[in-house]
Structures are given as C-alpha cells and as structure tokens.
C-alpha cells in the first residue's frame, strides 16, 4: 500500500461519510459559515463542528445541549450501533436527585453519601456540584416528558438505594434507564439532532495538544475516513467487558473511548476502579437488580444461612455493592457456596415475597430467571454470583464545570468520563444522573468551544486514517486465520482478568496477570480474521474492540498494582487497609508512543466532608 495517499483517494474514501455529514450538516461550507474565524477547508475531509461519539443518555444529552446552545453549529451523534442499543437502557433501579427537602435531605447530604460511597476517592467539590445538578435534572426530565412512577401527591416517586442516607432514588417502575434513553432520544429527535449510525470510532487525533477530530469506520461499507471536528465529546460508555462474559453490561461496552484516549497520549484515570455488582445470573452475567434485595430478597449459602450477618449485620443484604460482592466471594472461597471456581454461586431468595408482589414490582427479574436460568424465581431461589457492572474509572476530565479533558476541544461525559464523581465505588442510582448531568454540561461547553475554534489542519488525522486503512487490510485481507482464535483469546482474557484482577487482588496475581497480558497482546497482534469483506464486517469490529479491551485491561492492571491499599471496589488482600496518607489520590495512566504505560498520581480534592473510616 503506497505511502502517498492522494487527495483524490482521500475524497473517495471519505465521500460516503462526507455525504452523510453533508446531508446532516447542510454542507461543509455551512459549518464554516458559522464560525467567526474561518480557515479555508483545503483538506477535503468532511467536517463537523461538534461531534459526539456515543448515543446513550450522555451522548444524546450532549447533542441536545449543543443544539440548544448554538443552533447554527453542525452537531452529529456518531454511534457504532443504532441509537438506543446502549447500556443506559439496561439500568433499572432509578436516578438519584434530591427534589424533596422535607425530610432533611439536601444536595450536601447526597454529595456526602456519594463521597463516602466512593470511599473518599471522590473529588468533593465535584460531588457537591454533581448533587446540585442532579436535583435540578429530575424536574427537567419530567418536563421533557420522562414518565416517572408517582406518589400520592403526583410528584416523582422515589425509593431507597444502597448507601444512601435518605430516600432519593427517583424511579420509573423497574426500567428507569430504558425510559430515560427513549426520553433522551425523543428529545434529540425533537431538537433536530442528526445521527451517523453504524460508524465506529477507531481513533482520536490530537495535534499540538488540540483535538482535531476522529477516524471513523463506516461499518456498513467498511470505508475508513477522517472527520475533522472543532469539538469532540466522548460518551462511549464503560470498559467492563474486560471480564468478557462475567459482566452485566452489553457486548458493546468495550472502552473504545478510553483506549483511543490512551493511544492519543492522554490520561485514563482510576482505571482499576471497576464495580462488581453482587447479583448476576450464572449463565451470562446479566443483572438481577438491587431492588430485588431492596424489596426484601435474601442471600443464602450452601448451609442455608443468611451469610451477610457475618459481614454487615445491621445492613445485611442492603450493604453497599462492593461489600456484598466481597462477602459472596468470601463465601465461595471458604467453601460455603454451591459449585466450584468460576462456576460457584450462592442463592438469592425472593420466594417469600409471593407471586403477586414479584409480578407487580419485580417482573423483569422473573423474566430474566426464566430466560437465562430456565427457572421461576417465584418458586425457587435463583443462583447468582457477582458480575462486573460499572466503570468508575474513565477518561480524565479536569472539571465538572466544563467536562473538558486537558486537550482543548476534547470533552467526555457519562460512564466514559472520570471527573471523579464516583471515586472507588458508585452508589446505586448515581450513574443515570451522571450521564444526564455530565452529558448536558459537555454538550454546552463543546458548543461554546466550537463557536470560537478553528478546524485543525488534519495532518495527524490523515496519518491515522492511513494507518487504520492498512490495518483493516492487514488483519482481514491475508486469507489466513481460524474462526476461533479471536474468541478464544477474548474468553481467556476475561477469565484471567476476573481471576487475577477481580474482587480480590494480590501483588502476585497482578504480576502474573501482567505476564499474561504480554502474551495476550502478542497473540492479539498475530491474529488474522478470515473475512475480507468490508461490508458490515462485525468480526473486524470485534477485533478492534478486543484490542481496546486489552489496552484498558493493562491500564487497570497498572493502577491496581500501584495502588497498594484497599479502597472501595479495589480490594488488595495484601494491603487490607485504606491508606489515605499515600493513596488519597487518583491513579493517572498514560501510554507513550512505544506502547509503554506510565502512572502518575493526582491528589483528590478534599472539602467539607471529613475523611473517615467507611462504615455502614
């Protein structure tokens, strides 16, 4: 493949995306007309003022906010799937936000619970702002048309969530995330947001420290094209699929944004902070919502005892997630669970709640039990074990005021970002408001930035596009490769990550994992995909995603190894205590040009909440 990529070839390969963007944006020229200091577009590359990667709640909120802030800007949401296929839809329990102050609740208290829930790794000024914005967001969502379950006064109904000192988890039946997603989609359609679906972000281009755009692969045609943008918002979700099937999240939660950020030399913050939800079904890791315990469900070991009494007797099954997850894993290790090793499980029993209550308040979990475990949990307890659920770590953002990364023009929002709101452990109900709130802020600021910025020249973008175009040909065009190579590697990665960097971590296991990852990366690069067809090549998409997961794993591994303490979801059996003197800091992982990872630290912003022992 020739080094010289002529402008003509560029235009050709870019033409489909260009066409789509031109249709969306009303023309390349219009995008320029909007800016005050315009530079002529000589590259021929398609352009967009505000490009949002990801169509979950955060991405959709960012798009609407950008459109409202400045209707003259071109705003496009890029998604590797059809919008609404995102993880947001899977959230069930509710969305936190203080709207009722009559029982002593306050933004401060919400912030305090969040800080404590995050085992004090949360930046306290951020937490306070987050709680304030979250409170306002609930009424805003209601006004936008989100239906909520209601109380007797016609107000939004709320319920208890884990780790909360007051009741403030606002909900819509047991499908709050799904309803939020469709509210955001309807709002996006209402506000003229354009979509570029089935487009995969392969890479991010940072030139002279500024964000200049992204390399997109049109999954439908296989065309790989550069898109210059004035601002980019990464709302790409989490990276919990590093555990592959031992997770509740969708197949698409592959940390594409975090990996791109690492490749661009930017910071991936607190990557080792991965949340393990206590109750996932055995076959496939799907979640049984915390509400099952909230409504009275109990956990039992193989002796038939409610083992939580050994660990947190005054909260039992309603202790925070990380604590319950560790308790279950301890039961497994100490031989009081059913089954063995990766197949071990305990029981969640809701039979005593009765069929009527289950059908009315927990219908989804019954359906899940039937679908995945071939059983009816109205009649029998269901087998469960912890499953990876959320990524507290993410793309380093400097301030919740802007949701900007240190690279001008680059923003991040939702689960993909790390401000940090959630620190070392996220409270139930805090992720939907995170997406809602940070998405909007990112959109507003991305629009403000784009209104004053210029497009970059696109040289690095050009180079990256060339690189990925060759990559596709190299990986898929060799005629070699076995069907199972990639999938086997993916399964092994998942198991190795779970076993060595899961709920219980030790130095020896982490070091062993580092060796394994060196092997994994070598194997990964040797894999060839026997599918040369560029049209909708999902195998290649999966290959790219696997590469991103390997990168995210190594970043997490770096953080986990360096953080010699236990805090929140990160539990070191060789360093059982929390060590504020040395580790009241965020781990900041970067990658250099040679692929080597580096770790730096950043102090947690402490404020009015006293750093104390985390006891419930």
């Amino acid at each position: 493949m020739s080094e010289q990529f002529t402008r003509r070839e560029f235009l050709q390969s870019a033409c489909i995306t260009m066409g789509a963007l031109a249709v969306s944006t009303g023309g390349v020229e219009q995008a320029f007309a909007a800016t005050s200091t315009s530079t002529p577009n000589t590259s021929g590359m398609p352009t967009c003022d505000v490009l949002i990667i990801g169509s979950g709640a955060a991405g959709l909120r960012a798009a609407v906010a950008a459109r409202k802030k400045n209707p003259n800007l071109s705003v496009v949401v890029v998604s590797k799937v059809m919008p609404t296929r995102s993880a947001t839809t899977m959230a069930e329990g509710g969305i936190n936000g203080v709207i009722d102050f009559s029982e002593g609740d306050s933004f401060e208290l919400h912030a305090k619970d969040t800080v404590k829930g995050g085992d004090f790794l949360v930046d306290q000024d951020t937490a306070l702002k987050f709680a304030t914005y979250a409170g306002a967001a609930i009424h805003e969502l209601d006004y936008l048309g989100m239906p909520f379950s209601r109380n007797a006064k016609g107000e939004v109904n709320k319920r208890y969530a884990g780790g909360a000192s007051k009741i403030r988890c606002n909900f819509a039946s047991d499908k709050t995330g799904h309803i939020l997603t469709h509210t955001c989609l309807d709002d996006a359609l209402k506000n003229g947001v354009k979509f570029l679906m089935d487009h995969h972000m392969l890479d991010l281009s940072i030139e002279n420290g500024h964000c200049e755009g992204v390399v997109l692969r049109n999954i439908r045609t296989g065309d790989i094209a550069p898109v210059r943008a004035k601002s980019v918002v990464l709302a790409t979700g989490g990276y919990t699929r590093v555990f592959w099937n031992r997770t509740s999240t969708p197949y698409i939660a592959t940390g594409d944004g975090a990996a791109a950020v690492l490749r661009a030399g930017l910071v991936f913050k607190d990557p080792e902070m991965l949340q393990f939800h206590p109750t996932g079904v055995c076959h496939g890791g799907t979640l049984i919502t915390e509400a099952a315990r909230g409504e009275g469900g109990i956990l039992l070991n193989n002796l038939g005892e409610r083992f939580m009494k050994r660990y947190v007797p005054n909260k039992m099954e309603l202790a925070p997630r990380d604590i319950v997850a560790r308790s279950i894993e301890t039961e497994i290790r100490e031989g009081r669970a059913f089954g063995h090793d990766m197949e071990a499980y305990v029981l969640l029993d809701v039979t005593h709640l009765g069929k009527e209550k289950i059908m009315r308040d927990l219908p989804q979990i019954r359906h899940i039990g039937m679908l995945f475990e071939n059983m009816d949990l109205v009649e029998k307890p269901i087998a469960i074990r912890p499953t990876a659920h959320y990524s507290m770590g993410g793309i380093h953002v400097t301030s919740i005021d802007t949701m900007a990364t240190p690279a001008p023009g680059l923003f991040a929002a939702g689960e993909a970002s790390c401000v940090s709101i959630h620190g070392a452990n996220r409270l139930g109900g805090n992720s939907l408001c995170d997406a809602t709130v940070t998405g909007r802020i990112a959109g507003i600021n991305a629009a403000e930035y784009a209104a004053k910025a210029d497009f970059g020249k696109g040289k690095r973008l050009n180079d990256l596009t060339l690189k990925w175009t060759s990559h596709f040909k190299e990986i898929t065009g060799s005629g070699k490769g076995n069907v199972n190579d990639m999938y086997a590697l993916r399964e092994e990665m998942g198991a190795a990550n779970w076993y060595n960097m899961g709920i219980f971590r030790t130095e020896s296991k982490l070091l062993a994992l580092a060796d394994k990852h060196a092997e994994f990366q070598a194997r990964y690069e040797a894999i060839r995909i026997p599918n040369a067809n560029p049209v909708f090549n999902t195998a290649y998409t999966e290959y790219v995603e696997l590469g991103n997961l390997l990168l995210a794993s190594r970043a997490a591994l770096m953080g986990a190894t360096a953080r010699k303490e236990s805090r929140g979801s990160h539990y070191r059996e060789d360093y059982l205590k929390r060590d504020d003197a040395n580790f009241l800091k965020h781990s900041m992982v970067t990658m250099d040009e040679s692929g080597k990872m580096h770790l730096d630290w950043k102090d947690v912003v402490v404020g009015q909440f006293k750093i104390e022992e985390r006891k419930y």
Binding site: M82, T84, S86, P147, R150, A172, H182, D186, L189, L371
Partner: protein, 319 residues
C-alpha cells in the same frame, strides 16, 4: 439440526446452511445460537446484538418467516412452536433494507419517528424548574407504550408496510405518537395526532401482526385505533378512512343496528362510487346486493335499549 440463513454480502443474496448438534444449543436462546454459530463455525455471519436481555431491541430476526427478538426467544420455545422441527430458516427483518446478512438499516425508521414529533410539549402550568404533576394512574396508562424498545419486529410483519411503504409508517411510530398524545402532561395531543393522520394512520389493514409479534406485548394496532378515535373526536374526520369507520358507527347506533352495505359504499366515497361501480355491478349481477337496502334495513329488536345503553355510557364518560 440445520439452520438455513438468508445471507447478503453487500452484493448478492444467498442461503447458507449451518449444521449444529441440538445438545449444543437447546438450552440457549436464539441469539445464543447465532453467537454459537458465529464463534465456532463462521465469523463472517453478521447480526446485531447488545444487551442480550430484551431491553435494547438490537437483535430482531425472522424464524420461518415470522419475526422474533432473538435474545428473548428460547430454543425450546421454537422447538415447541414448530413441533420439534430439525431445520429452521433464519432471515433478517422484513420491510427493512438489508445491509448484510441479518443486519438492517434503521435510518429510515428514525426519520419516520421524527414525523410524529416525539418529545413532550408540556402544559404551560409546568416548567423545567418545577417539573410536572401526574398521578400513578396517568403513568400506568402510558407506561405500556413506553416499553417499546424499537426492535422492529412489528414493522417486519406489517402487511401494509410490505404492500407499500410510501404512504405508511412502521407500527412503532404510531405507538410513539400515541404515548405522547395520551400523556396527561401534554399541552396539545393534536401536535402528534395530526402528523400521524397525515402519514397513513388510516391505512392500517388491521392484520394484527404487530400485536401478535411484539415481545413487549404492546399492541400498535390498538394504539392506531386509539389515535383514530382521538382524531375523530377532534373533528379530523375527512377522508375515506374516517368516513368508512363512521358509517359502521352510524349504522350501529343511529340506524338499524347492523351494517347497511349500500349506504356504506355511498357514505365512504360519496356519490363518486364510480370507483366501485365495477364491483357494485358485479355484486348486483351476482344477486348479492339488494338495491332497496338504500332505504335502510330492518332495525334490530331491542335497538332502542341499545341506544339507551350507549347514551348512558357516553354520559358517564364525558371528557
């Protein structure tokens, strides 16, 4: 057992047969089976999936010509439904442009959703700062329609869409219009009803495929009927569709209590039954139409009581 899959590589359509051991897939869902085939036999097989727990809507496919949500369908269900068949035909959703194998193009559907103006326009008494007021009953009224995950299964089977999509939209689009038009917080339902009427609301053929296939048990057909009733109440009753429906109602309540077919034709299309002239003549020749019926048929016994009952119902349910 065999899975015959309708494939498309971007240029040509073809069928490919995959053989699997029943024991390897019988405990799985249909999605699990597709993943099994992709990951063990042929990684070029393309389909879309995300949540695998029936909430994101990504994995709609057809089995033996009928649409299913793959992650929500257990293989055992299929064995039972098709009487232990050892061969299944898998195809992409119908009424969608196929991009590759079982993956289809959702862009036209998103554009159709825009037409019914989704997104609430709230009553003036509500505000962004204070939110809205609604009660649980009003929430319960619409929450079923909010279950729609845009899986496309209803659209795949829609007989009207298959016949001609130029003057119609996917059933879920009408459900989307219904859910916001019937939200008690809405300022003006007609914002959403009018575009539904303008975009084929009266063209639904009542085949009930949508009702029957929906994995979330939503009946788009009922929502279409509901939108039609709303449109009629608000006086959007011009056109052949409304006139036709009105004719049945008139016969039932105001006239004899049974359908008068001569009048039906006249009321529906006015005097320009010239369109139907061929059919009318055919009917008369076949001896099926009694021209005297134009003067009205016999009123049913007890019609007065029926009218009393309907009037009582109307009075009790005044809006």
């Amino acid at each position: 057992m065999k899975f015959i899959i309708d494939r498309f590589d971007g240029k040509k359509n073809y069928q490919q047969t995959y053989t699997v051991e029943k024991k390897d897939i019988e405990a799985l869902t249909l999605l699990g089976t597709l993943l099994f085939i992709k990951q063990h036999q042929d990684l070029t097989l393309n389909f879309t999936a995300s949540c695998r727990m029936a909430i994101c809507g990504a994995c709609g496919v057809r089995v033996n010509g009928h649409a299913y949500l793959a992650c929500d369908t257990k293989m055992t269900e299929l064995f039972e439904e098709y009487k232990d068949a050892d061969t299944f035909r898998i195809s992409p959703l119908s009424n969608y442009t196929v991009i590759s194998d079982l993956a289809v193009d959702w862009e036209p559907s998103i554009e159709n959703l825009r037409k019914v103006k989704p997104g609430l326009v709230a009553k003036s008494e509500f505000s962004e700062k204070e939110g809205c007021r609604q009660n649980q009953e009003q929430y319960d009224r619409i929450v079923g329609q909010w279950d729609c995950i845009l899986c496309g299964v209803c659209a795949s089977e829609c007989n009207k869409l298959s016949a001609d999509r130029s003057d119609y939209m996917e059933p879920f689009v009408y459900t989307c219009a219904w859910k916001v038009a019937n939200d008690s917080r809405t300022k003006d339902p007609m914002i959403h009803v009018k575009p539904a009427v303008a975009n084929g609301l009266w063209n639904c053929v009542h085949c009930h495929e949508c009702t029957n296939r929906c994995p979330k048990h939503i009946s788009a057909a009922e929502d279409i009927a509901g939108l039609r009733a709303m449109a009629m109440r608000k006086g959007l009753n011009s056109g052949v569709g409304p006139a036709h429906a009105k004719s049945f109602y008139t016969d039932l309540v105001e006239d004899s209590g049974r359908l008068n077919e001569i009048r039906l034709a006249l009321r529906t299309e006015g005097v320009s039954t010239a369109l139907r002239a061929g059919t009318a003549i055919t009917l008369m020749r076949a001896g099926k139409m009694n021209p005297l019926e134009i003067f009205g048929g016999h009123t049913i016994e007890g019609h007065k009581d029926l009218v009393k009952m309907i009037e009582a119902a109307k009075a009790a349910n005044k809006e």
